[in-house]
Amino acid sequence: MKALCKSIVLSSLFIAGNSQADIVFNGFASVVAGVTTSSDERLNGYDDSIDFSNGSLFAIQASSDIGEGLSVTAQILSRGDDDWSTNFEWAYVAYDATDNLRLLAGRQRVPFYMFSDFLDVSYAYPWISPPPGVYSVAFDTFDGLGAIYSTNFGDFDANFHMIYGGNNTEIFEGEDTPDFNDLTGISITLNRDWLTLRAGYVQTEMNIPVEATQPLIDGWKGAGFPDIANNIEILKDTGSFIELGFQLDFENIIVIGEFTQLNLDGTTLANQDSYYIMAGYRFSDMLAHITYGVDDDARDRITGGVPVGVDPSLDFLIDTTNGITDGEANEANYITIGLRWDFHDSAALKFEFTSYGDDLNSNNDAGLFRTAIVTVF
């Protein structure tokens, strides 16, 4: 499917070139440098030696209008923390069925979050990157169909984005490829002057083979507890995701908030509740902002009905499984203060400091300085 997508899009771009439809190129880039505030602190892949590749990226988008309402778009992205390997972030064919309805087929972004659509375009939002606690779903693209419908109700502009497809690209290194099938989602955005409201819902069938848990799964089946084995195995389980967000953008003040809930019941992965709220103030060509965020991950123990102390091998299964579910717990909060300076009409300079506090293990507390130069072209 991936190869088919790419070849359809590439050949469409070539056809477009031959029939002299213009190919329009746009791009964006971020060069990000970060360092933690002391040698025993690590956060989001940074440590106490300055890192210029984590978070840096470079992207080119080629788009061509091939007439009759059809257009082809491909975006190639190269990330520093991926050794600068290039990937097709998007590659789709779009059809403008009416002035209000646009249909897409191919590789697209999953509209999980308010900033999902332009997640990597740092120029388009205040932070260097959106709060990672909230923006934490393991994948952000899918292959399939999308529909975008825009309309208005009185003074409100409304936008509905629906998707259906799947994601079968390798995410976890060294493991078998996970399969996300029957991925279905809808997001609704309402906008009126300075107020934007958003709600999103996505669900998918998850199949994530994890080699390390296979002995545990087999052990529980052998001990006569197939339900517990099924809970550990991530096979045909349904994961769901809800997002609620708002933006107030009035004169010099900007306030943004997002709340998300990820539900992975039926697996030993934690359910995750996260939110952030940001307030910013614009003056001359700068924006100063402060963000407060909270992450709460939890997974209840699944060994409730199993007799303890009866059999040493059963106790071993119980302890190992409890270790997994207990280890999924996470309670953290963070504050980020930042400054964005639009020093150039197509580029901005950003500075941020994040103080991260782990409520369960203060050894994980960390401070992180980041700076970035971000641009669109």
Binding site: Q61, F118, Y123
Partner: protein
């Protein structure tokens, strides 16, 4: 030169200075123009929405095609500030969101007021803005800002 002439020259000099400073301190006026055959009426909000890609037709149902001056030009900056109520960086960020999510693209750009007027005069779907000083009778002025 005798004294009378010097005084006259001084007065002229001062008058010229006043005129120069008056024209330098007067803000450029931006006018919204359409083809003379276009009978549509538009509120300020409608004009803003057309240039932000949110409204795609005139009040009479005809398709509306917005055209911009070059990014960074003075008239465009005035237009974005007065009509769209945003700085040019905010406008750039707004369009980046749409371009890089495949949801839209900004209006095409033309270099000069003359090019804009030539396009408006030849196409009844086009709506554009120019400096008020460039207006001639080949175009119809909808609003002045």
């Amino acid at each position: 030169m005798n004294i009378k002439n010097v005084k006259a020259v001084n007065r002229m000099f001062v008058a010229v200075l006043f005129t120069l400073s008056a024209s330098v301190s007067a803000y450029a006026e931006v006018v919204i123009i359409v083809n003379p055959s276009n009978t549509a009426t538009l509120s300020d909000k409608d004009i803003s929405r057309i240039f932000l890609g949110k409204l795609k037709s005139f009040s009479n149902g005809d398709k509306a095609v917005a055209v911009n001056l070059k990014f960074g030009s003075e008239t465009r900056n005035e237009f974005e500030k007065k009509v769209l109520n945003k700085s040019s960086s905010q406008i750039k960020a707004y369009w980046s969101k749409l371009v890089f999510s495949g949801k839209g693209k900004p209006p095409p750009e033309l270099v000069s007021d003359k090019d804009v007027m030539a396009l408006v005069a030849s196409d009844s779907n086009v709506i554009a803005y120019i400096d008020s000083a460039s207006v001639d009778d080949t175009v119809k002025v909808l609003k002045t800002f």
